[in-house]
């Protein structure tokens, strides 16, 4: 026991913080499992579990870019979209030729890889820009992806793949052929492979990747570039390389979130991955604290679940949601609120000190 206490005491601060984050996710998972096996979980909560995992992964991955690399990316939904489409396409093509779990594993890997490759492709030209310019370009990227997917028609038959842009009517398929990507209607009938357990495992893997990267040599280089680009450059840090690293890893993880999304619903349309979704993920990151991974997780969970929990208010739901969001932002980040919280903390600490003194 004392040995354990000592190891905890001697642990690096960052390691301790990382373990708390893993622990938080695992405890949440165990609590949900207990509720669900005892039948106390409502259908609504059960339906929410996978979306929660999706947005947590998306928020944590965006935090890598916004928080640690210090670049504002507004095209995160675009990477999710790529992951979602590629993996859903893969799963629809493969169908039952592979057993479910193996197919899903491949789908995740393919989704991550393709989104990551796009991250590199987009990153090479885009990361030459800084600040607001980068934000605008990533925003444009998200819109391009959305509009491309919207006019894409892919069918499959005995003689292979048929690809058409802008007109599904021109797809001429043999008998028995099927249209997989159907323009604005997207992909329907993707197998529902996403489960809460898989979602949590992917969250843990995401955390492992992001937290280890941040605390590694590369991670320190990334943060050095964020804090002072010129100083970082002067000591020989390869700026493009490290920025690209953060950007493409973040893109690949967003792609995985997209894979979970597309394998959770029977339909996948591109409308979901618009500007609003990118901003929503950014809101999770901002509310949770830029550069604060645990905060991202908590914010993503609260803000995803909140509109559903507020359904009882029917017509005032979205109004209340917006007000709660503003209030939470203020409470977390307004200077006055921060100093008030500090004062309260001090007061409580003082009182505790007082009590221990009296007790002694």
């Amino acid at each position: 026991m004392t040995v354990m206490k000592n190891t905890i005491k001697n642990m690096k601060k960052s390691t301790k913080s990382n373990l708390i984050t893993y622990g938080m996710v695992i405890v949440a998972y165990i609590i949900v499992q207990i509720f669900s096996t005892t039948g106390n979980l409502s259908s609504m909560m059960q339906g929410l579990l996978v979306p929660l995992c999706i947005y947590v992964i998306a928020a944590v991955s965006l935090n890598l870019v916004v928080g640690f690399s210090g670049e504002l990316s507004l095209g995160h939904a675009g990477f999710m979209c790529i992951g979602a489409y590629v993996s859903a396409f893969f799963s629809s093509c493969v169908g039952d030729a592979l057993p479910g779990p193996l197919r899903f594993l491949f789908a995740i890997l393919i989704g991550a890889a393709v989104a990551g490759i796009f991250g590199i492709l987009i990153g090479i030209p885009v990361l030459r820009l800084r600040g607001d310019y980068l934000a605008i370009v990533t925003l444009a990227f998200g819109e391009i992806i959305k509009n491309l997917m919207n006019v894409l028609y892919i069918g499959i038959d005995g003689s292979g793949l048929h690809i058409q842009a802008s007109d599904g009517g021109a797809l001429v398929l043999d008998a028995g052929g099927k249209v997989i990507v159907n323009g604005a209607l997207g992909i329907t009938g993707t197998p529902k492979d996403s489960t809460f357990t898989i979602g949590v495992i992917i969250i843990l893997i995401t955390l492992f990747i992001v937290q280890n990267l941040v605390n590694s040599r590369s991670g320190r280089a990334i943060m050095a570039i964020r804090d002072n680009r010129i100083a970082a450059e002067s000591i020989g840090i390869n700026i493009t390389k490290y920025k690209l690293m953060a950007f493409s890893i973040s893109a690949a993880l967003a792609g995985v979130a997209g894979v979970l999304y597309s394998h959770n619903l029977a339909t996948l349309t591109v409308k979901k991955f618009d500007y609003n979704t990118s901003i929503m993920i950014l809101v999770f990151v901002v509310l949770g604290g830029i550069g604060n991974i645990r905060g991202s997780i908590i914010a993503a969970v609260i803000l995803t679940a909140l509109p559903e929990l507020l359904r009882g208010l029917s017509d005032y739901r979205m109004l209340i949601y917006a007000i709660v969001l503003v209030a939470m932002m203020l409470f977390n980040w307004a200077p006055a609120a921060i100093s008030w919280r500090e004062r309260m903390k001090e007061k409580i600490a003082e009182r505790r000190k007082h009590q221990t003194k009296e007790a002694a």
Partner: protein, 387 residues
Amino acid sequence: MKKSKKLMCLALSAAFAVSALAGCGNSGKGSSSEPTYKIGAIGPVTGSAGAYGEAVKKGAQLAADEINANGGINGAKIEFKFEDDENDAEKAVNAYNTLKDWGMQMLMGTVTSAPCIAVESEAANDNMFLLTPSGTAVDCISGSNAFRVCFSDPAQGTKSAEYISENNIATKVACIYDSSDPYSSGIYQNFAAAAPDKGMEVVAAEAFTADSKTDFKVQLQKVKDSGAELVFLPIYYTEAALLLQQAKDINFSPIFFGCDGLDGLLDVENFDASLAEGVMLLTPFAADAEDEKTQQFVKAYSEKYNEAAPIQFAADAYDAIYTIKAAAEEAGTKADMSNSDLCDALVAAMPKITVEGVTGTITWAEDGEPDKEPKAVKIESGAYVAL
């Protein structure tokens, strides 16, 4: 630099919060200790498609209130609950689960196609009876538990092509459609596929997307240059109102032909009704129709909600609730049956019933597709005239 970025983040977040805000409405319901039929409904009442969900909500509520006032279904009252899905598949599934927690036995929904496909797959798992008033995509009713009131995309596209060729309206046709909307592009595809067989030539097909649906000058000019006699518009009335105005601005006056989405055109605010003169549309419902049933419905609707006239979505929803009633009475169901038992009973009863609704006389095939006659109407001196 960093501070300005944070500020930008905050500003964008605020913009997001504001854009999440949208309209409100009213719904009243009561509960009692007697067993009731719990009918859930899902559709968008916020966001860009909010008008359609709102119309469905009102139309269905009107039907439910009427049925309750006349003694209910097999003696049991209806409880009707509507949940918002923001026209998003994920939110629609959340809404479906919320309704399940409420104790829903039958689902009237969802209003829009993509969410409907997602919800249908959940409903098929639970063996929950699903009747969509306005989900037009083919896959909306892929399960044996699902039926629809409106025409499917293929039915609308092909029926429009048939109608145009059988009545010798035009041989050179052009299309303007919304490629980002499943409804619009679905109808267009089927229309374009059917047109050559009917002796028509599609001389131009111009698309726009939801991001650019206010300026149609480019598309109209191309269509004009192609020499089309008829322009097929499988789009919604809000865009059509702008499009007609812009067509007039470039002195382009072909025959405009639309589908049920055009219904409601004459009620667009600040729309000059003379622009719509001569527009033809194939729709199952016309608020100005002479028959008694439609007039009663329009009157009750406008009195209850203080609105000019219901759009076709409201009519579909109104018929959907009466369809559930007819099927339940045919099957002799009881209000305390489980959703799965109810579903089996209703699915068996659906092909046997005939509903005299405001969107026509409807019968159903076992695959869930409705069979009803489309009404072709033409706008003449500011009113729909049946052809």
